[in-house]
């Protein structure tokens, strides 16, 4: 659905939007949701630094222990939580994820944030918004709105992890197969 250059352009635009909306990103902390959200957060931080020379603190926040579906499967291995040294109190936190779907991951991330500190504001950036929200959550920055059927599966590939950049739509996966 998206190729490398599309992802590149989308992230560049999101970085500009973050700079615009937060007036220069001076109080911004970028927190990615592992695994691919964390990679995307680092890419956004690079771009922000490139455009305006602002060094934005960047980290990751694992939400596994806050999920509402833990009891629906075996215990999952944990991702990495790495909160920048300055913390998040009084900052504008931009959560970064690869795909926004039901909104449950973001709900869990908001709970996790609350245990780490009290940000001034929380915003959400996502590379792909595929719809089918189950909670009242929306993204502030969207790379691409992708209309999907609920049974389909959206797969984001990033070169740091998967060797190449792409967004793929897998059809007719069984119900509940996730993102």
């Amino acid at each position: 659905m998206l190729e490398g250059p599309d992802i590149h352009r989308a992230l560049t635009r999101i970085a500009h939007e973050i700079l615009e909306r937060t007036r220069g990103a001076s109080d911004v902390v970028l927190l990615g949701i592992p695994t691919r959200g964390a990679t995307l957060a680092h890419r956004l931080a690079e771009r922000v630094a490139q455009f305006e020379g602002v060094k934005v603190p960047v980290g990751s926040i694992d939400i596994t222990m806050y999920r509402d579906d833990l009891r629906l499967g075996p215990a999952r291995p944990l991702g990495k939580t790495d909160v920048p040294a300055g913390g998040i109190d009084g900052k504008t936190v931009v959560l970064v994820d690869d795909v926004l779907f039901s909104g449950r991951t973001v709900r869990a991330a908001l709970d996790a944030l609350g245990d780490i500190g009290r940000p001034k504001a929380v915003q959400l950036a996502t590379l792909v918004d595929r719809g089918h929200r189950e909670l009242p959550i929306r993204a502030d920055y969207v790379g691409k709105n992708l209309p999907t059927a609920k049974s389909e599966k959206v797969k984001v590939l990033l070169s740091e992890i998967d060797g190449r950049d792409a967004v793929e739509l897998l059809k007719n996966e069984p119900e509940g197969a996730g993102k």
Partner: protein, 304 residues
């Protein structure tokens, strides 16, 4: 993983999963809110038939940090002192709906029996002279934290091996994880089956020390000694105690461990126990995170 009864039941991948999970959970201890909602609505019963300070408090803190409800049960002051059997106690717990039972018992094999009687997960917190798997896990975690690896690490476990469940669990776990263990003790304090354990054996502490990366001192368990295993405490201490002179024989990066409680002056001198290369205090802190990891991995997912 349904139960955690023996360190020998863990595959290399399972053991590493527990250690990696603990490493992530360790960050929670550094936050102002040291709590995760993960086990909300789950019940963990601490069933302690033997005295314990560290392990019981550690399991309780671990369960509470994961938001589980904790019921503490100690044999003193319970119906056990009126003659209730382990099985009847187990059935009572079952009726209360325990998702996990943490058991310490004086009889080797008690957790194994219990696992057949309850539906929840059983975690062995020490059974007789048999095993203490979470202690071995926290020891391995502490070694990896200090030395950065476990593979190829040379570990000397020194002292009362015969009565030590910590030694057995450590030998089984560390050999799974690729460390080389040498047990050091007087012949009277080694179990008869020791040649079948996956480790080396030595009677001479001074010969082992220069090569060791980790020296784990064990407490001489006087309460379990019903015969004369060595002539005197003084002689034991002279031959197998870790004092300043022996400590100096270790290479500069080697660490000293002790599962506690310590007999200062007997198996370890106060000076060595309090040195910066001793991990004794951080072992206690690591105990909480490792037990959080074990509880999460055993009962954090679906009900089996």
């Amino acid at each position: 993983m349904k139960h955690l009864i023996s360190a020998g039941d863990l595959s290399r991948d399972e053991a590493l999963l527990i250690l990696d999970t603990a490493e992530e959970l360790a960050r929670v201890s550094g936050r102002s809110i040291k709590k995760l909602p993960t086990l909300r609505g789950r019940t963990v019963v601490n069933l302690f038939f033997e005295d314990s300070t560290r392990t019981r408090i550690s399991f309780e803190a671990a369960a509470k940090r994961l938001s589980a409800d904790v019921i503490n049960f100690s044999a003193k002051g319970s119906s056990v002192s009126k003659g209730e059997s382990l099985k009847d106690t187990a059935l009572t717990l079952e009726a209360m709906g325990a998702d996990a039972v943490v058991i310490r018992h004086g009889a080797s094999g008690a957790p194994h029996r219990l696992a057949n009687w309850v539906r929840g997960s059983v975690l062995n917190a020490g059974d007789g002279t048999h095993e203490h798997p979470t202690q071995a896990l926290l020891d391995a975690f502490s070694m990896r934290q200090r030395l950065g690896r476990l593979e190829g690490l040379k570990v000397a476990i020194v002292g009362d091996i015969l009565h030590s469940r910590v030694a057995r669990s450590n030998v089984l776990l560390l050999s799974t994880l690729g460390a080389e263990v040498t047990l050091v003790a007087p012949p009277t304090l080694l179990p008869v089956s020791v040649e079948r354990w996956p480790c080396q054996v030595s009677y001479d502490l001074d010969a082992v020390l220069p090569k060791a990366d980790v020296v784990m001192m064990l407490r001489v368990q006087l309460e379990r000694m019903n015969a004369a295993y060595f002539p005197s405490a003084r002689e034991y201490s002279r031959r197998y105690g870790l004092d300043r002179d022996r400590f100096a024989k270790l290479h500069d990066d080697a660490i000293v461990m002790h599962p506690g409680p310590m007999n200062r002056g007997m198996e370890i001198s106060a000076e060595v126990a309090d040195s910066p290369r001793s991990t004794i205090v951080e072992q206690v802190g690591n105990g909480v995170t490792v037990r959080m990891a074990a509880l999460y991995l055993l009962i954090g997912g679906e009900n089996q």
